[in-house]
Symmetry: C2
Subunit: 143 residues, 2 copies
Amino acid sequence: MTATSDAEHALRGASLRVTRPRVAVLAAVHEHPHADTDAIIRAVRSGTGGVSTQAVYDVLRALTSAGLVRRIEPAGSVARYEARVGDNHHHVVCRSCGAIADVDCAVGAAPCMAASDDHGFSIDETEVTHWGVCPDCTTAHSP
Amino acid sequence: MTATSDAEHALRGASLRVTRPRVAVLAAVHEHPHADTDAIIRAVRSGTGGVSTQAVYDVLRALTSAGLVRRIEPAGSVARYEARVGDNHHHVVCRSCGAIADVDCAVGAAPCMAASDDHGFSIDETEVTHWGVCPDCTTAHSP
DNA sequence: GCGTAATTTGGAACGATTCAAGATTGGTAA
DNA sequence: TTACCAATCTTGAATCGTTCCAAATTACGC
């Protein structure tokens, strides 16, 4: 599979050992954008068989700190992971069903980065989350 | 105290029953901006005596849905509450110590609200979180 | 091929939050 | 004012996602 060799290559590039769980988790994140940990665990298990829960948590943390995946955590939701890293995009979250969609930044490369008063903080990242209701839930609520 | 009567007035204005736990919690949120639930519980107990943990959780939820307080929840942190509602401001969060500071929006009234592609979502709120390191942690790390 | 060190495993622990049932209180109408 | 009803508080326990621990396994570099 291409996904597997891509994952393998990405792991090597990040100086991470190439193990079966890591390849499987990385491939699962690529295949299921915005999946939570439980969904990733299930996806990995259905694909390659026995992988422990802790292995997935640990791999996800390793991949996150290596910058291969990005951890997103909308308020009131569990942690989710996505494979789109490096580009500047944000998210829309459905208040009703929790669905997440990617939103490219409207302003350009570094949106809203300019805080009017940064209180002396050295800001290195700015996160934008749009809250609303997704099309499915909108039609479901007003038939 | 003025804080207490203010809280009482705010509760009545929101058609919420005025109870001792509610007044105490609302006053505590006003006195401690960005406090987490545990800090609020401790503040309330030191002030008015016995209030159950669940009462505080329930009151905070009631106040949040009534719009009297705003719940903020930076990724990797516990829920925090603030009393500044209605104005359009965002937050800077310290990656090191978790400190939170308010940031008025640089763009104006509705910043970054324009998503380039909203995927059909009806967006009603946009949340901006800046991540960085606060002055205290910066000096602590490079003396 | 071998050794070392990282990695995975399985179990258990943890903290924040929520659930359930009963007692109590606040608001309101008589 | 008094009594009523429903909302709210208390007590106690349970749930969920996540992390920690020690032991066994595995992969990588030489």
